[in-house]
């Protein structure tokens, strides 16, 4: 147990170090090839006037393309319009909106996917009929359908959840199928010898066996739902979500590139939070399971 903990800490530290290294590289690149900049101000009573003119000019590293890290942070603490909340607060609301849509879609898609998986696992004929489509659909960019669904259904926020659900349910169905089948046949024989009914076998043996597979799929679906929610917001012009924010700040990119990066940061956070929530749920649901490799 203690060994696992220290490993987690090492991993977290490793992540922080890498992110830190990236930020350093970012600023070093700007130092060498960015736009000239000046730091001018008063810090704790000390006057600072620092001017730097980088020796090179690289297009990708200009203030337009790659704003200074501190400018991005600064812009989050400032309101976009007068007498409105600060950007960070706005983006946080956007994030909540998108995550609500993603969560709804995730719940719908998972429930449906699980049910479909149970049905397909039990009815061979249906399985042979439908599984090829489930598999093919994974090779199709389902996301190409999003604009049509969102615009056509005109259901506003709900259509965002629908897109998220659509992206969720395929991995869950496949995982449910594999997982339910992966149950130890001897455990099932044992249940039969105790005259247990089909539902009991499902509840007590198959579902617990499927749980690790399902959670692997949930981790993928968590991210997919967030992506689906963002993409769903685009064609519908839903300004309340992260997709809307990205579109919005994309338009103002020439004036205020920092805002787009700030929006990106929150989008990244949304994806990571969704992923971590599923990981936490997995820790709880699979506590007591034998630790093993990921049943990829």
């Amino acid at each position: 147990m203690a060994r696992g903990r220290s490993r987690q800490i090492r991993r977290a530290l490793g992540l922080i170090v890498i992110v830190g290294a990236l930020l350093v590289i970012w600023e070093v690149a700007k130092f060498i090839g960015g736009d000239p900049w000046r730091l001018h101000g008063n810090v704790l009573g000390v006057q600072i006037d620092f001017f730097h003119n980088p020796p090179f000019r690289w297009r990708i590293v200009t203030d337009q393309s790659l704003p200074h890290v501190w400018n991005v942070i600064h812009t989050m603490t400032v309101p976009v319009q007068v007498n409105r909340p600060i950007l960070a607060s706005l983006l946080f609301d956007n994030m909540l909106f998108t995550m609500r849509g993603a969560a709804t879609g995730f719940a719908l898609g998972s429930a449906f996917g699980l049910m479909l998986g149970i049905v397909l696992a039990n009815v061979r004929l249906l399985e042979r009929a439908l599984v090829p489509y489930v598999v093919i659909s994974q090779t199709i960019p389902i996301i190409a359908v999003a604009p049509v669904i969102v615009i056509g259904l005109r259901a506003g926020t709900f259509s965002v959840a629908l897109v998220a659900a659509y992206l969720t349910f395929f991995p869950v169905t496949i995982a449910a199928l594999r997982g339910l089948r992966a149950a130890d046949p001897r455990a099932i024989e044992l249940m039969r010898s105790l005259a247990a009914g089909r539902w009991e076998v499902l509840r007590k043996v198959r579902l617990p066996a499927a749980a690790p597979y399902l959670f692997t799929a949930f981790k993928i679906s968590a991210t997919a739902s967030v992506v689906g929610a963002i993409v769903g917001e685009l064609p519908a012009g839903l300004r309340e979500g992260l997709g809307g924010a990205l579109l919005n700040f994309n338009q103002y990119y020439t004036i205020a590139p920092e805002r787009l990066w700030a929006a990106l940061l929150f989008a990244a956070a949304a994806g990571i939070v969704a992923f971590l929530l599923v990981v936490a749920a997995e820790r709880f649901a699979l506590r007591g399971y034998r630790p093993s490799e990921e049943p990829a």
């Binding site: 009929a129 199709i140 996301i143 604009p147 994309n250 929006a263 990244a268």
Partner: protein, 275 residues
Amino acid sequence: MAVATSTTSTRFRRGSHGIARRVRDWTPAIAVAVGFILLWQGAVQLLDIQRFVLPAPFAIGQSFVEYFPEIWAAASYTAYEAVGGLVIGVTAGLLVGLITGRWVGLRESLLPFAIAVNSVPIIAFAPIMNNWFGLANPLSKMMIAALLVFFPVMINTVRGLISVDPSALELMRSTAATDFAVLTKLRIPTALPFIFTSLKIAATLATIGAIVGEYFGAPRASLGQYIVQHAAYFDFERSWAAIILAAAIGISLYVAVLIAERLVMPWHSSVRGVE
């Protein structure tokens, strides 16, 4: 000491028995496809459903034929972006995966990082790529596709390289093989199944990257823009026709990976045909 076990190849079951079985296996699926299309067409005609989300399949077919040149042009452009992104992303993923797999220290920190970044909606980078490389430049969408593809390929390459059987490693040590020999003769062949799994995912991701990247801004003659524009004008038949081609691109790339897999790994169980 002739032991008469599995000397005959258990590979493909030839003969009429095999073909009949295959037809029987696939009939339900084909029945579903045919039935679905007929039902769809029937429902639209009988119930006179407005042509909102689901226009009649025959109407879609008509649109497809009528507007074929422009849809095909858009599809070519998008396919070019998808393939370009796939190539860039896979190459980078393999290289970084090889390097990361080699050094344990690098692996411990980079691998969790890659997994974390993979959970970020990378698609959100699309506007930035557009700004860096230019809306009209296919490279901007290629970079999104490449970014999407890079992480799964890299993660799976590393996983494959380190999933080597410890006994096999001991075997190589016993023959005093160089590190390079271990890499080429053992680690890479072991990693190939993992790599091909990620390539199958990559095929879809590249297509998605190209199309969604186009949603954020692209020349008119691209599938993403085509779909969005015509949906916005409620011209759903043309949108669906374009979606069909988008699906075709995804499937083609996937099939290309399958073919490559069969060529490179004829020995692998998933290709062997042994259940």
